[in-house]
Point group: C2
Chain length 255, copies 2
């Protein structure tokens, strides 16, 4: 009675293991398992876009509905982010930056089981911009030492920081050039302890240079954190201006 419709419309998967169409595991469940495995293996990488639903459906030889069920499941698990009109993206693995703790960059990165590295972009004496001078408690245009640095975790950029120091810290510039960390350089000029006094957080879109250095599109906001560090006596020793790419980095505050 029924018209003999073609029962097998589906194309076989090209290279990978074929899906079982037996009565065992549902197709969408098998697909989710395969994708979950691939994401865990690192391809596609965090933040990367998956092929379009139509393409994936073709790859697995299923209808788009079936594939969508698999994606929805992964999105519910938090492994994917689906954005209408744009595509599906592998979730970023977020680096929590704990404010308040006396954390050095390398410690922060290592706590997330990643390898820290960095690159000094600038180290110079300059006139402090207005906002910086206010933070450092200097008059506008006063001399300051500026260190700009790109921080990486497993080779991926995660921070772009400007550190301003009052010029009264004699020898600091040379110490910064020689030392492996800011803490160490400060200790070399007699500041053996300091703490974060205040942090102000905002966000904005990156300019072309920032986007290039941090390897993000210009539509991805930066978290911008200004902070003031003081020594034990309460004197300001550093004004920091850190830019973090979202959503790779989050700032966490735990009183």
């Amino acid at each position: 009675m029924t018209v003999a419709a073609p029962p097998r419309v589906a194309a076989p998967p090209p290279g990978a293991a074929p899906l079982s169409r037996d009565e065992g595991e549902a197709l969408w469940h098998q697909i989710a398992r395969v994708l979950r495995q691939e994401i865990a293996a690192g391809t596609p990488a965090p933040g990367a876009r998956l092929p379009a639903e139509a393409a994936l459906a073709t790859r697995f030889g299923v209808n788009r509905h079936t594939l969508r069920r698999a994606l929805e499941a992964l999105a519910r698990e938090g492994l994917l982010k689906i954005e209408r009109g744009r595509g599906s993206f592998v979730a970023e693995d977020v680096l929590d930056y704990a404010i308040g703790a006396r954390t050095r960059f390398s410690e922060w990165i290592r706590r997330h089981n990643k390898e820290p590295s960095g690159r000094i972009l600038r180290l110079e004496e300059c006139a402090a911009p207005v906002a910086v001078a206010r933070g450092l408690g200097l008059r506008a245009g006063a001399r300051a030492i500026l260190l700009e640095r790109l921080g990486l975790a497993d080779g991926r950029p995660v921070s772009l920081t400007e550190h301003y120091f009052p010029a009264r810290l004699r020898g600091l510039r040379a110490a910064l050039a020689a030392a492996a960390s800011i803490t160490e350089a400060l200790r070399a000029v007699g500041v053996d302890d300091y703490r974060r006094q205040l942090t102000r957080v905002s966000a904005r879109l990156p300019d072309a240079a920032e986007a290039g250095l941090l390897r993000i599109p210009r539509t991805r906001p930066l978290l911008v954190a200004e902070n003031v560090n003081v020594d034990r006596a309460g004197a300001v020793v550093e004004f920091g201006l850190a830019r973090y790419p979202t959503p790779r980095v989050q700032i966490v505050f735990e009183p």
Copy 2:
């Protein structure tokens, strides 16, 4: 774009008080004073773009150089932000949101000498999304009470918040509908004190609905703060998800 009559270089000002060309106060100084007054009066509003320099020069009947001196002065004062190729903008008056303090919305706004108000957008029982359930310490899909609210300061939107409460707090939904504040509603169901346990801050671009409610362009990032509130015994009583428009709002951590 062009105003009524730009025929001559030194046109008289159209509607406002004329500038004095005596040897008293410099023209650019008078112009700066007028603009300062207008900005203080609220038009143009914070964040708004000023007319182009050429248009302003015409309005005051002065050369563009003269006008630029006035704008530069205002920019140095921090009242304006001049962006090459884009225009001059009235500086946003930043609302510092102090994290860590036990701050209620109305207190926060009043501390900045503005009048707080708000609008409840949603008040309903729903299944907690994954991230929320994790924050509340519930299993995924558990029932929760959701309150979504738009916060305003002097009529301008400054926050868009979702508050999730565990359904175990019986009667809370009615209390929220009746009470003027969340603190009050919680007290009505027996939670007489709570504190912020953790705050996680990120940023992203707004979707169309968020941009509309907060009255910002879609290219202006939001600060997104997730926070967990616990009662005196340490039990979670609220999971909050707040979205603040930048740069109108900054988040400040002060340990």
